[in-house]
Amino acid sequence: MLQSLFDGILVGSILSLGAIGLTLIMHILRFANFSHAELISLGAYVTLTLDATISGMSDLLTEKLPQLSVSMSLILAMLLALLITGIFAALIDVLIFKRLRDNAGPLTMVFASFGIGLIVRNVIGLIYGLKSTHYNNDIAFAMMISADPLLLVKADQLFILALTLVVMVALHLLLTRTSIGYALLAVSENPELAQVNGINLAAMVRLAWMLGGALAAIAGVCYALNNQLSPVMGRDLVLSLFAAAIVGGIGSVYGAALGGLIVGLASSLALLYIPTGYKPAMPFVIILLALYIRPNGLFGEER
């Protein structure tokens, strides 16, 4: 029970990061982006490559932080990967989604997002191989903070929780204390009205993609630290991300954060009662319940 609660919060906080970008794009551009979860895989794998490059430069960087299986080079690699994933997301928009947006309806973009997801996932599989990997071999023997059979906690997991918390607070400050954050919130509330007030819609769309990509990359690194890297990690998460976005209410950043925690907890607690094999079906049950009971989500507006 205690273990399920802990695991649920851990997975939930990772889902929250992934769902924020999804909900922003889904609201501003009005389409469900099924390739969003591939940004999670991309961020995780770009970090893997950069980590290998950076750690080759200096022995100092490869040393693990105390108690953790995370090195300085991994953190540096993650920071670079945020940028790369963010730019990649914005680039895909310019190359594909923007053209479809101009010429066809939002559902055409949904079609294309499936195609893009399929391509990205399998290209990652071609480059890195289909087998799952770890950032380093120490992760399997990671330091346990609590080895009580009732509650197993790894130091890495506390690192993940701390990291997601820091990112959430930073995001909150960005959205509530800076003018660019206000502009983004305004656009996600009402794109037309925001434009009337002189906000550059195209720039905000770009920002939303970059932000979503960067958050997804962090989520990817956290997920890989907690589990492993695999080309299908994004595909395995995509439905949970949608569940989080729908439960929270499409367009609500805070809703997505809370929705991620709810989906994570619900999926983890449900496993106490149902066989593990049904785990992939849980997000669907949550989505269906949310749509029947509260289709606009916790913080969504009626539309």
Binding site: A112, F114, Y278, K279, P295
Partner: protein
Amino acid sequence: MIGLISYLTFFLTIALILAIAVLGLNLQWGFTGLFNGGIVAFFGAGAYGIVLLGGPERVDGLGGFGLPYPIALIGGVLSAGALALLVGLATTKLRHDYLAIATFGVAIALESVARNAEYFTGGAKGLSGFERPFESFIGNPFVYSLAFLFVVCLCVTAVYLFLETLVRSPFGRLLRAVRENERAATSLGKSPPTVRLISFVLGAMIMGLSGGLYATFYAFISPQDLAPVLTFQIWAMLIVGGSGNNKGAILGTLVVWGSWVGSGWLLAALAPQEWQLYAGSIQYILIGSIIVLTLLARPRGLLPEKLSQMHYTRQHVLAHTNAREAP
């Protein structure tokens, strides 16, 4: 020669069975603008439905009622419809991409049920031992496969004629009205959510028929057959062929299924040994690229939708006005 003909028969049978699912998607997406992200779920419901109802009795689980074939087939089609109703009732009143998410989810949920609920579905082993109708009566397997292809052709024709009649009927115009301008349709006293629900369930039942025929052809169904890639393949077939055009749907099926089978054959024959493991990935990239590039370069497909614009052309309107003013 016999080898070539029997391979061609096999290829065409599978392609035409898939064409039925593509026609079902054309009703949903092409004519109504409904996004189905989990075609494989309705395909699978039909397939499992028919094997459970019409298959031999199972010692270790439910099902195997040995019902006569037509009743089992109808049962499979109805179970696909019931599944569509469950999803459709939750989503047809909401934002359009909710249907995409819910259908995508139902496919994943159904696959995990197929894998795990051994009592119902036989688990990963699947359900085998289905007796194909008239197989022992015909005897010769080659003649049987030709006869099967003929029956599949009949089914494709029947579905094609049904859809052509449907889209030319007042209901078909209603579908397009909902697709093009929901608000205008509402203002004329129509109920877009109901129209969408009917179209979605009908389309899903056609996909169920396709799944039922597929399971009959292989006399076997397992979770392997419910892989998500089938959904993408069927989309590619419709988009390439031209959504909103039933002939295009069938043409697209043949083109895309031909390139899928052909690319698999080429990769197996030409790719070096160490690449064989990745042949699947390369084919997935191919399907993804076909979807994205067709949407970008030729969004209306090979055979675009023909909207009857005769009533609205200038000459026609003039001719009408003149005719009225003449006397």
